[in-house]
């Protein structure tokens, strides 16, 4: 095999071209920094996407194929791990944003100080964040306006102060959003249009988002939704400073004699190994894969993985859990319209309230049942086959919707991502093993919120409701956080408040890994806002000659 020439050293190497890596790339390249992006998956263009439930939802057209990319899971340290597709996220340029529908609420002020608000929770490692809502607020605004988020400022009574509204008004009202709103009104609960990664009208040279049944879990053939693929990547490319290399799987980050990150060793599409040096490394692989990559990067100086002297890399992992109450109605709901997730939300149960008997709270929102398309639709008491199953499909498919919750799972020391001892992926690397035992607080919150959700459905006129209580955390939201916590104390955190490794000053993590807690809301707006903040910090540091002093060349 002909050896490929070693590429030139670059200012910043970003690993991953998803939500976080894409945001960082946009900010860095627009500030004049040269970036090499190594993305393990393909660069799929909008032409390769379509409205095909079988391919997209059931046959791993976009989801990782578990034969190639398995993960293992166990409920506690004493259990035998078993292969399970725990918390999968698409691996391709755009990452998890390629086939989401994108609910993008902001966190609230108390999310950044829940320990102060709620106190110690035995068995957990609950902490306050080292940064506040105020620190992030300018970046929330930047992301909402640059990415394109539809919503209505002030509609959510519980939202924290914002400096600016949304660039475009809420998406059109779906029938399930309306029903949810009616149920909430009936009970005196506040509700609001879910802020979404979509454009309700043309904005910034982009057309309004197409309304299709094939949205959640489908790529967007029209390129009109807001995603890293359709927004950040093109914006970074247009600067001419974004060297995006798809199909390049990073196996290891090496260190130099000073213990600083030196290079990324990756395998390209031909199977060749290449070494990319950079002055600064940013990990945006998603919280599971970033932790895995650090753990894979062992050296004499870091025998337990890069930046892992504290043994905290991979620990305190949180994933949320999506669970729902489901209602059946006499009138048609058409929950498949708009992909089932053009929704309405409530933060009525979001803030902590001692009287509920658990800590924290949850974002709830209306949605189609499961994937709102026919193959994957079901109800809890629908038999697997036969005349009765057919009857239920016929009578309830178009007449049902769910009120879902984002479960705010508590961080625990032993809930973690490690390298599996026996299972390898198709590239011969040990896969991520997830150990996760839900805390009693998680389950109590799940029961309580699902009961409220069922009441909302009843109040909205459901003829029948089901309560699906979460029994464990399965990672079914594709949300991942906290495996490389940020904090001020190197004994209790992996990264500092700028998401820079305490032990390796030219290494940053920008995905959900730095989140000290999961919060009860969808994470990606905050992931992107935080990535923007960190990227600005890197630009500033570079200007002041720190962190990048060893850069080969300026931009």
């Amino acid at each position: 095999m002909a050896r490929k020439p070693k590429p030139e050293k670059v200012d910043v190497c970003i690993i991953g071209a998803g939500a976080s890596g894409g945001t960082a790339a946009k900010v860095l390249t627009e500030s004049g920094v040269n970036v090499v992006a190594l993305e393990r998956g393909p660069y799929r263009k909008k032409e390769s996407f379509g409205g095909d439930e079988l391919a997209n939802v059931n046959r791993y057209n976009l989801w990782p194929d578990p034969i190639l990319n398995p993960r293992t899971y166990r409920g506690s340290n004493d259990e035998e791990p078993r292969e399970e597709l725990f918390c999968p996220v698409p691996q391709m340029v755009g990452g998890g944003t390629v086939h989401w529908q994108g609910w993008l609420p902001r966190f609230t002020e108390n999310d950044f100080r829940l320990k102060t608000v709620a106190g110690e929770v035995p068995g957990t490692t609950l902490v306050d964040w080292p940064i506040s809502y105020e620190d992030l607020e300018p970046y929330y605004t930047k992301v909402e306006w640059a990415f394109g988020v539809s919503g209505q400022a002030g509609a959510n009574k519980y939202e924290s102060p914002r400096s600016k509204g949304y660039p475009t008004p809420p998406m059109p009202t779906t029938n399930y959003a309306r029903k949810f709103h009616e149920g909430c009104n009936e009970l005196g609960y506040d509700s609001f249009p879910t802020p979404m990664a979509a454009l309700s009208e043309p904005y910034n040279g982009r057309p309004a988002t197409a309304l299709s049944a094939f949205a959640q879990q489908h790529g967007d053939p029209t390129g009109t939704r807001s995603s890293a693929l359709s927004v950040w990547v093109p914006q970074a490319l247009v600067t001419g400073r974004y060297d995006l290399r798809p199909d390049c799987y990073v196996h290891e980050i090496t260190t130099d004699e000073h213990g600083r990150a030196k290079s990324a060793i990756y395998q390209d599409a031909d199977g060749d190994f290449i070494e990319q040096e950079a002055a600064v490394f940013m990990l945006g692989c998603g919280a599971v894969e970033s932790a895995r990559l650090l753990l894979l990067s062992r050296s004499g100086r870091f025998p337990n993985g890069l930046a892992n002297g504290s043994d905290l890399v991979g620990r305190n992992a949180t994933f949320h859990e999506y669970s729902a109450a489901v209602g059946v109605f006499d009138d048609p709901i058409h929950a498949w319209a708009g992909g089932g997730y053009v929704a309405a939300s409530s933060f009525e149960f979001y803030e902590h309230d001692d009287s509920r008997g658990f800590v924290g709270g949850s974002h709830i929102a209306a949605a189609g049942v499961g994937i709102p398309l026919p193959i994957n639709w079901s109800l809890p008491d629908r038999p697997a086959w036969g005349a009765e199953a057919k009857r239920m499909d016929r009578e309830y498919y178009d007449h049902s919707f769910a009120v879902g919750m984002v479960l705010h799972d508590m961080p625990q020391h032993d809930n973690r991502v490690e390298l599996d001892d026996t299972v390898e992926d198709a590239w011969g690397l040990p896969v991520a093993r997830i150990t996760l035992n839900p805390h009693e607080n998680d389950l109590a919150m799940g029961r309580w919120v699902i009961d409220r959700n069922a009441e909302i459905l009843d109040a909205a006129g459901a003829t029948k409701t089901y309560r699906v209580y979460p029994e464990r955390v399965t990672g079914n939201c594709s949300h991942q956080h906290s495996t490389t916590r940020m904090g001020d104390d190197p004994d209790t955190s992996v990264l500092n408040r700028y998401c820079q490794a305490h032990e390796v000053d030219n290494l940053f993590v920008v995905d959900g890994g730095p989140f000290p807690t999961a919060t009860g809301a969808n994470p990606t707006l905050t992931i992107m806002a935080n990535a923007w903040r960190v990227a600005e910090h890197v630009v500033r540091q570079r200007g002041s000659g720190r962190a990048t002093t060893t850069a080969g060349k300026g931009a």
């Binding site: 409205g51 939802v57 059931n58 209505q152 197409a210 499961g370 086959w385 057919k390």
Partner: protein, 224 residues
């Protein structure tokens, strides 16, 4: 090509085809409206098991993707595993039918077929099945699927058959099932005319949104 020699069949032999078709017709029976038989779910499955040529339709509906590299390898492995499960599962179904009713499955009455199938879905498998479905949010799970994909090769013959029947009934017609969109019509899913419609952005679900928009600021009374 073999499609002709084999009466349109790509993978199943005649008996296997007849057995699968009969079983599928009990999984989604025909009543006053079409069922699995009319939708062509056996053809859907036969195509799926024929190799890796029908795994992904091209997104504009103009044929099927050619799989390459690791992806192709994974699919070969998966299809091989599924073929084995079907070949054995069909034999097992016949064995049970003969033990109980002295005849092959296809020759049983519908009620007898239901009994034979119910026995295949036997209690000790039930637990595994439910576990698999909770974990995968897939098929006809005891809980609604949330947001996660499946690992279907872990399923046993019967849950696989039920799943593939459902897929053949409700997937885009390009895969050989859901003929004349009978599945979609049955349940009121107003899907696109073809994959090309969605791909080109012509398909819209706007007419199925609420007639009246919510004026959130006004209705909430606390808008800014």
């Amino acid at each position: 090509m073999s499609e002709q020699e084999n009466g349109g069949r790509l993978f199943f032999d005649e008996h296997q085809w007849a057995t699968v078709e009969a079983a599928m017709a009990r999984i989604i029976p025909t009543d006053d409206q079409p069922g699995a038989r009319e939708a062509g779910t056996a053809e859907f499955l036969d195509r799926y098991l024929s190799g890796i040529d029908y795994v992904y339709a091209k997104p504009d509906g103009s044929g099927f993707e050619k799989l390459e590299g690791k992806r192709a390898g994974a699919w070969r492995q998966r299809i091989d595993a599924l073929r084995g499960k079907y070949a054995e599962g069909i034999e097992e179904l016949d064995r049970r039918s003969r033990a109980r009713f002295d005849r092959d499955f296809v020759e049983l009455s519908e009620d007898q077929q239901d009994e034979a199938l119910a026995e295949m879905e036997r209690p000790e498998q039930q637990k595994d099945l439910e576990q698999a479905q909770v974990a995968t949010g897939y098929g006809a799970p005891p809980e609604p699927a949330m947001q996660q994909t499946s690992t279907e090769i872990e399923l046993d013959f019967f849950p696989l058959l039920a799943l593939h029947t459902r897929q053949g009934f409700y997937s885009d017609p390009v895969y050989g099932g859901n003929r004349d969109r009978v599945g979609w019509r049955l349940i009121g899913f107003e899907g696109p005319e073809s994959l090309a419609e969605t791909h080109a952005g012509r398909y819209t679900t706007r007419p199925f949104f609420a007639e009246e928009q919510i004026d959130w600021k006004k209705e909430n009374g606390h808008g800014s």
